[in-house]
Symmetry: C2
Subunit: 469 residues, 2 copies
């Protein structure tokens, strides 16, 4: 049913009745009209890009626990205040830190050559002076797991699996297990170190970092990623049949516990200020690039979307919170902290969406709402249709920093972006401002402003109690 084809008076009566009758939320015609106007204003504004430019230029890399992290928090507070949010505050987020040190590798024999690597987050260091050992190659993590107990004894494991390119980023999950679990699985087979082919879709001479985890009770061995061309090179050497010996040197170490902050800006609602919609992104990045795509773009999109609503003559009915989450990269720490700090107030979170997939255009909106709310979501999607966005399904995840809140039952939305190129740059030095297309960014902001505004204005609710893990 498309309300816009029915006269306003009739519609209003019908909606009031309908909402009571079947618990279905809906939107006033006027709100749908304003949402469309906000959409068009978003397409006409470069505030989103300006915010990404500001963050990457004035702060740059902002790995959790570094001076860049502190600079980013300061930047976030100043930016939200400058833009005129009704309330701006921070909430503490405490976590263990990890420090990258020197990192280098080279083939010692039979064909001496340097290799480009980067340590994986939480990797231990090699012995001082480096670790030299013969390479043993595995197709993928499964092949390593299936190998006999001493298969890699005294060797450096090399896992060569390649990530598949896909619009929805679906190649990441299957490939990234090698990054997360490879070290402990290799140690179980007697390995002294591990090198993985970078989890990425590019073929540039830059290695992709990202977190790994050591399994309890298993020897901790140093872990690094090779750039794709270096992984190719190693494969080509190994194919020749002679033993290949590599030296890897990693100076990484765990640092002190550190307290960063989630940075929150609120547009305070005019009718139900205690109820709020969350839009957000993570403020931290990896240390190698300036985090323009991951996740400067998400910061730019969500802050710019909120600013458009701030600039309306009246405040929306409910509040809208823009949350810049601390330390997503090393374990969703900011998301967990927010969920814990607000656990007694979960019912007031109307819904939430996080932008954390770069700057590609949104092509689909997915929801996780009560079934009766799906028609309203489709109405929201109709306002997004001119942006090339259509409704997908009711299995949304909402974004990484929303996982802890999701576990507490909130409804979420996923505004799914085209991530075809995202993993070309993800977690590399190459994640820089030039990779952000200003026009695609505007399309994202237009979708987020529709989502945030309509959710804040909605009659009824999206439901709670989903408790997705």
């Amino acid at each position: 049913m498309k309300l816009k084809y029915v006269s306003t008076l009739v519609v209003s009566c019908f909606i009031a009745f309908s909402a009571v009758a079947n618990n279905a939320p809906n939107f006033d015609d006027e709100d749908l009209k304003v949402a469309a106007q906000l959409r068009d204003k978003a397409l006409d504004s470069s505030l989103d890009y300006d915010i990404v430019e500001s963050l990457t230029t004035e702060v740059g890399p902002r790995m959790a626990g570094t001076p860049g992290d502190a600079a980013a928090v300061k930047w976030g507070v100043a930016k939200l205040e400058e833009l005129g949010f009704d309330k701006v505050w921070t909430e503490p987020v405490t976590f263990p830190t990890w420090k990258r040190g020197v990192e280098s590798a080279e083939v010692l024999s039979p064909y001496p050559q340097p290799l480009v690597i980067t340590a994986l987050g939480f990797s231990v260091a090699t012995p001082e002076g480096g670790l030299s050992a013969e390479i043993i190659e595995f197709e993928d993590l499964e092949a390593l797991k299936a190998a006999p107990a001493d298969a890699a004894k005294g060797k450096i494991v090399f896992i060569k699996n390649r990530m598949e390119r896909a619009r929805d980023g679906s190649g990441y999950g299957p490939a990234v297990a090698a990054r997360g679990q490879g070290a402990s699985e290799a140690a179980k087979k007697g390995a002294v170190g591990i090198l993985i082919r970078s989890i990425g879709t590019d073929s540039h001479r830059m290695a992709h970092t990202g977190v790994m985890r050591y399994e309890e009770g298993i020897t901790k061995i140093p872990a690094a990623a090779l750039s794709a061309p270096d992984a190719d090179l190693l494969e080509n050497m190994i194919r020749r049949g002679k033993p290949v010996t590599v030296k890897m040197t990693i100076g990484a170490k765990n640092g002190e516990e550190y307290t960063s902050h989630n940075v929150i800006g609120e547009i305070t609602g005019s009718e139900k200020p205690e109820e709020y919609v969350i839009i957000g992104a993570h403020l931290d990045s990896w240390d190698l690039g300036t985090g323009a795509l991951d996740d400067g773009a998400g910061i730019g999109i969500t802050v710019a979307a909120a600013k458009l609503i701030l600039d309306l003559p009246e405040r929306p009915k409910r509040s809208i919170r823009v949350i810049m989450f601390a330390n997503e990269e090393q374990g969703l720490i900011g998301g967990k902290a927010y969920a814990e700090a607000h656990k007694d107030d979960i019912k007031n979170i109307i819904t939430a969406a996080e932008s954390d997939f770069g700057a590609g255009k949104i092509w689909r909106i997915d929801s996780k709402v009560k079934p009766e709310a799906i028609p309203a979501v489709k109405q929201m999607a109709d306002v997004m249709a001119p942006l090339g966005i259509s409704y997908g399904n009711n299995n949304a995840g909402g974004g990484p920093d929303l996982i802890p809140l999701r576990g507490k039952g909130i409804s979420v939305f996923s505004l799914r972006q085209d991530g075809t190129d995202y993993f070309d740059y993800h977690h590399t030095p190459n994640d820089t401002l030039d990779k952000v297309d200003p026009e695609s960014l505007k399309q994202n902001t237009a979708a987020y402003v529709i989502f945030a505004y309509l959710s804040a204005q909605m009659n009824g609710d999206f439901g709670t109690g989903f408790n997705q893990k």
Copy 2:
């Protein structure tokens, strides 16, 4: 005139007369037929790619004067012997060396961030501990030259000119002057260091190296290139109007004099063995990548082309020399050494062509021959036509290592490749095997084998005495 439409006997008589009459060289029909067969065999062989794979895997980076240089010479001799060349030898090439040391840079204020740089070849080092100074930005080299005498006093000059992308690489010349002359021009204005935007067409986080030269009598200041995203970043910081202070640390230094070798493989001619055709490429590379495009591709193409001729049942009339030139990158040293060593024998060089523009397809053949020979060149081009190659003009340069021989008067050919992407990778760590398209490489080999074979079989000659500078 297309000889192939006339009966063989008539043609032969006509050619003999014609050659005497107007000094025009020509080809026997049978040779044109064999050339076409060789072309088709080239398209069916992956020897070219296998050679590039072998060089980049077994040797890798081979900057002049490094252990990789020595390994490459050894590899070259072994490869030519393994392929069965009639004669394989080396000729000494002596030059001063330059060693890359540590290299790093960072913005100190107002927005502390690391910058990705690489030292330019022959740059001096910064003082131990680095050089910190305010940045002064110039549009291009001309703007720097036009500045007042003390314009850059005590500062680090930043030249931000961007290289234009073009199929024929024509953006390189205008842009690269900043790399070659920037340091001395900056020093004349009182600068203590120089950073240029990389001379390249990509936007990846890798800086492009390449040689620079200090002008006699001018203070030598350290010189480095910023990656394109880092140059963008610096521009964005400078635009904010506050002084930008950068620290650059370069540990480069001049090394000992070193003797490398040109590696030469000969197919010895059956009728006029003293006369020869040169095809070649340079064996050295920069140190950052594995030199797959620059100039492993040229080595693969020219060696594979010669191998096809070696595999014919009979030797060609004239000899063919494949020359792997030493140290092209730091001043065409191998090319100069060859020209000097063979200066009394220049008349025996029938013609020459060097492949040194990556692995893109050839789209045009240019010559520098006597006017009477142009019809023969067009016949050669006709055999290349199925490869998508047409005749261009009679202003060929022949390739960098042929400049010294050109100065002594030899005729040359340029088989012009599509270099649209060449400067995305040129002189960066990203110059690796994955950038080489095997199919394009075959097309190149097919063109070179036509050129080499027909030049060796030709009746008459291309002329000499051009003495191009």
